[in-house]
Every structure is written in C-alpha cells, then in structure tokens.
Amino acid sequence: MPVGRNWPKLLKAWNPQWVIGRVIGVRLEQVAKVKCVKMVLDPYIVTYFGKPRTFYAHDPEKKCTMGDVVLLKALPEPAPTTPHPSTHEISEFVHQVGRIYDPIRGQRCEGTALLPPTKHKLPVEPPKGRPYREIPAPERSPYEKILPDTEYYRNKDMHKS
C-alpha cells in the first residue's frame, strides 16, 4: 500500500474483499452507490482522518434504500452493469433505515431507547429513496428474540436514568 499524503493514489489501491459503507445512490438500475470510509494517518499532524471512496454494488432485486449501512463482498469478476461495472455485491444489511435492532437485547430501537413490541412493524411514511411497498418484506432479523412484554417495560426508563 502506498504511504504518505497522496490520497487519490492510496484510495485507488484500496480494493478490499469486505467493506462496510452507507448507501448514497439508488437511482441507477441494478446498482447501488455505496460510500466507504478508510481511516488514514496524516504523517505531519499524526492524527487519523476518514477518506471516502464510492463503490458500486450489484443488487438486481432493489433491496436497499438511501442511508442503509451495508456489508459488501467483492465479486470474483465485475458484473457488466451500465453505466458503472459493479465490483461488489451486498451480502448483509448491518443497519437498515427505520429498522435498527439492538443485537444484545434483540428488540427494535430508536436512538438510545427501545421501542415497545407494538411498534415492531414498519413505519407508514416512506423515507427518501425507494418507498417501502416496493421493497420485499424482510424476514425476521437474526437478533430478534421473541421476548414477553415485561422485558420492554422493565427497560423502558433506561435512557432517562
């Protein structure tokens, strides 16, 4: 990997197999634009700054919306999509917009507060990007535990204390 202050050269040489990024573009057909950030050391100030790079991910089923945090896996060959050939594919949704799950408690949450079990369905207003009715309904998340209502009410005032 090249070292120093030549940021464009350094970012062009960064072609990893696994990346995490945020979706910023959704208007292309079968392709999602994903912005991934790499922390790079400035040699004079000796601090780490985040340098962004966009990757093009191949999703023919249009599963993602704007703002999703996504885990990408590199394809063995870049897929022939127009106008940009997509080098990665979406392997997992880390955090989806409006559907964030707390992996330790297994419930849906909004910011630093857990939501009650009645609100575990999707919100009604469609966010920016594709509306929810176009996206296929998700299966149960890997973190979701079927907890009784008492678990929510026990932790209801957690964020206040």
Partner: protein, 186 residues
C-alpha cells in the same frame, strides 16, 4: 505504565505545549505502544457506542485513546464507528470467511475491553516476538549507508580514510589516471 509527555522528554522539565486534549495521543511512541495486533483473519472492526449514556463510558474512552493505536498497528483493517444507534454499546468483528464476532461492552472499563479483545482476536506476545526476531535476522549487520549506523564506506575498518580529512593517493585519483591515458595516446 502510562506514557506522558514528560516521560517522553526523558526526565527533563517539559514546558512545551502541544495542541489539543491529551496530545500524547498524537505521538509516534504512543501509537507504537499499542497492544492489540489482530490476526490475519480480521478484516473489519465496527464500534457502536453512545455519547451521553453511562453504560458506554469505557467504550468512549477506548475510542478516544486506543482506537488510533489499533489502526496504527493494523493498517489493513477497516475501523468503523457508529454513535447513538442502539441503547447498548458493542463491538463487532467481521472475519475473512464471513464469520462475525459480537462483543458486549456495556459497563466495562477501557482496560478490560483491551484485555478482552487482545485475548479473543489478538496475536499473542510470543508470536509478536517471533515476528520481531525474524525481521532482525533478515537485516545484514554488514550494511552501510544513509539508513544504517555507518553512513559511509570510510567508517569501516580496512577501507580508505575519508577524502574530506586526507587527500587520496595520487595513483587512485581520476585526474591522474586520465592524464596518463592521454599521454600514452599522443
């Protein structure tokens, strides 16, 4: 042993001021004294923590002090942080074969977090020593040059002395040899 700017200066009274909070974090000695060196399988590390909650105090301090150390020792690993998304703080490591490791970090101090992460996914002290010795063995002691302790060939025993202190013998100077060749020709 916690590093301080006074200790780095070698016991001399340190009056200079670097900018920022805890500017010791911005020194190379601090970055190189990091303990966590990940195994080759780890590709991504993601840190989820809260900014104002009490349960993620240790995570906040870890991100403030130890995250640059981790990134310095593992430049190939992508380190990603998320703030205030979930009520509980956690770390997640993504390995090469698709495996994921979840580490709960709620109400833990930063020293406990560093120990735990080093135990799970870090290289042991033995492996690090082996890597050090193998790097030293590959270096040839007889080398000289701008990168090594002996800068010029004149410092080596058995070679000619430096041309800055003593003139070269006449027979070895290029002037003399060219002059001789010209005389032989004409």
């Amino acid at each position: 042993m916690w590093l301080t700017l006074a200790k780095l200066s070698g016991g001399v009274m340190f009056k200079g001021r670097m900018l920022g909070k805890y500017p010791i974090r911005r020194t190379r000695t601090f970055l190189e004294s990091g303990e966590i060196v990940f195994k080759d399988r780890v590709k991504i590390m993601s840190v989820n923590y809260n900014v104002f909650e009490k349960n993620s105090e240790g995570a906040r301090e870890f991100v403030f002090f130890h995250l640059p150390q981790v990134q310095y020792k593992n430049p190939e690993v992508q380190v990603v942080t998320f703030k205030n998304l979930t009520p509980s703080p956690f770390f997640k490591f993504y390995l090469d074969d698709g495996e994921q490791v979840l580490v709960d970090v709620e109400y833990k101090s930063r020293q406990e977090i560093v120990k735990h992460v080093k135990k799970i996914l870090g290289k042991t002290d033995k492996e690090l020593e082996e890597i050090k010795t193998s790097q030293q063995q590959s270096i040839n002691i007889a080398n000289f040059g701008p990168r090594w302790p002996r800068k010029c060939i004149c410092e080596i025993e058995g070679q000619l002395p430096c041309s800055s202190s003593e003139d070269f013998p006449k027979e070895l100077r290029g002037k003399y040899q060219m002059k001789k060749r010209m005389e032989e020709r004409y």
